[in-house]
């Protein structure tokens, strides 16, 4: 038998629950809209949370890593015979290439000496361990256990031993979020070698991203090497991205060089492009010399 007190308490609880639910709906929709507006607070919130939870994530990942390593070792064991045959063929091919490369290197050194080619801009890197991936159907991204304290900057390129993996889209103190090249929102300026044609590599959720805005299809062939163009000054130029292929629908795609199936560590590149002096504002001169620079008349000529 329920008393009227019980009933009124239940009614009160029901009201509180409805108010809470309404509040949750409003907060969720506000967050969703902020995310769609690319509000930096959402990204900051992500990175704060990643910074806070990263140590415990590493702890829980340890047993999963052991399991996946065992599985991978077993797969490697099964593949070893086929790998051996492939490696023998590869050695034969590379021996021919080695001689060619040596000749090209000598030629290149001579040409550099003749042309006084500028030295490459200073490029350093920091290596991180991938501790989490998005795991869901909405985005293809990963979380790396290095951050601002290690010198990682927003927009930096991420590479594995073979090629570009993606770019940094969020930096916390000790964690970094990478957007993989395969994600729908990934866009990367590339150059196709040897023709030098420029294009944009656009992720579309498949393992072979599309080539868009190709300058010209002239001299572009399947199997051509695709590298970063360095346009925009965010990525260094000439990082290997993959090989060009064409599909039945006559569009160009890229088989990525990076091995996403064995991705455990990534290098985040700290790239500083060449300094370009395009105005006199950066020169330290006194006032008189500055006015002379602006008028083009040397100070000594007035006397």
């Amino acid at each position: 038998m329920r008393t009227s007190g019980d009933l009124s308490e239940r009614g009160l609880n029901r009201t509180i629950n409805r108010v809470l639910l309404g509040l949750i709906v409003v907060i969720s929709l506000v967050l969703l809209i902020l995310w769609r507006m690319d509000n930096p607070r959402v990204e900051r919130l992500r990175m704060v949370l990643a910074d806070a939870l990263l140590p415990s994530m590493s702890w829980t990942n340890a047993p999963i890593d052991v399991g996946s390593n065992m599985l991978r070792d077993y797969e490697n064991f099964l593949e070893v015979y086929e790998q051996n045959r492939q490696l023998r063929r590869e050695i034969q091919r590379l021996q021919a290439w080695r001689e060619t490369a040596r000749q090209l290197e000598e030629e290149n050194a001579q040409l550099r000496a003749l042309n006084k080619v500028r030295l490459a801009p200073r490029t350093t890197f920091v290596t991180g361990d991938i501790v989490a991936d998005s795991g869901g159907p909405f985005l293809q991204s990963a979380l790396v256990n290095v951050g601002r304290l290690d010198g990682v900057r927003d927009g930096s390129a991420a590479v594995d031993g073979n090629g570009v993996v993606g770019r940094v889209v969020g930096v916390g103190e000790r964690a970094t979020r990478l957007l993989l090249l395969t994600d729908f929102s990934s866009r990367l300026p590339v150059v196709i070698q040897p023709s030098g044609r420029r294009a944009i590599l656009a992720g579309d959720g498949t393992s072979a991203p599309m080539i868009q805005f190709l300058e010209s299809e002239e001299q572009v062939r399947p199997g051509n090497l695709v590298e970063t163009s360095g346009d925009g000054g965010v990525f260094p130029p000439n990082l290997p991205v993959g090989r060009l292929v064409t599909t039945n629908r006559k569009d160009w795609r890229v088989i990525l060089s990076a091995d996403f199936s064995r991705l455990e560590f990534v290098r985040l590149i700290r790239y500083e492009p060449d300094t370009q002096i395009d105005q006199p504002g950066g020169l330290i001169v006194d006032g008189a010399d500055q006015s002379a620079l602006e008028t083009g008349v040397p100070t000594g000529a007035e006397e």
Binding site: L49, D133, S134, Q140, T182
Partner: protein, 177 residues
């Protein structure tokens, strides 16, 4: 919200939080970074659904929302969409738990799968309504299948190892009738 906070209740909530955190850690473990890798099962949903039916007092709305939002933020999913649908699913299951108590497990499994499909549909609609790129239908279908399969394992683990079941409820309901 209905119950006063007692020590056993606080412990249950802490237990649910801990399990929720483990579920998120398992979901985001870097097992498949290739574009065609299978999506991770939504273990947090399985856990929440199972506990909402059997221990609703240990699954308060705000806690579910906090866990859902943490998962959204850590997995780069649209923030708020996953958390909102998780809360709505938990509330629906809590309201309907009286119906589930005397039903066989396969029926519960089927209903939970349908509810999960509904949460995916709501997320898809929310993204479409905000002109964001919704997930590919094929990926969502795989997520649904894998999560439905995982629910059985989650239920088994919670029932066998943590003794989370309907036993008390059935006894109480039986003595009342």
């Amino acid at each position: 919200m209905a119950d006063t906070l007692t020590l056993p209740l606080i412990l249950r909530m802490l237990g649910f939080t801990l399990l929720g955190f483990v579920a998120i850690s398992m979901e985001i473990a870097p097992l498949g970074l290739t574009a065609n890798a299978m999506p991770s099962p939504d273990i947090l949903f399985c856990l929440t659904a199972y506990c909402a039916l059997r221990r609703p007092e240990a699954v308060p709305m705000l806690l579910v929302f906090a866990l859902g939002l943490s998962r959204d933020l850590l997995t780069d999913a649209p923030p708020g969409a996953g958390a909102l649908t998780l809360v709505l699913a938990a509330v629906f299951l809590m309201e309907a738990r009286g119906w589930f108590i005397h039903r066989p497990f396969w029926m519960e499994w089927l209903c939970v799968t349908i509810i999960f499909a509904a949460t995916l549909a709501v997320q898809w609609l929310l993204l479409a309504a905000t002109f964001a790129r919704p997930a590919v239908a094929q990926d969502l279908a795989w997520l649904l299948i894998i999560t439905a399969g995982s629910y059985v394992f989650v239920a088994l683990l919670l029932r066998v190892f943590l003794q989370v079941g309907y036993a008390d409820e059935k006894t109480r309901l039986g003595s009342q009738s």
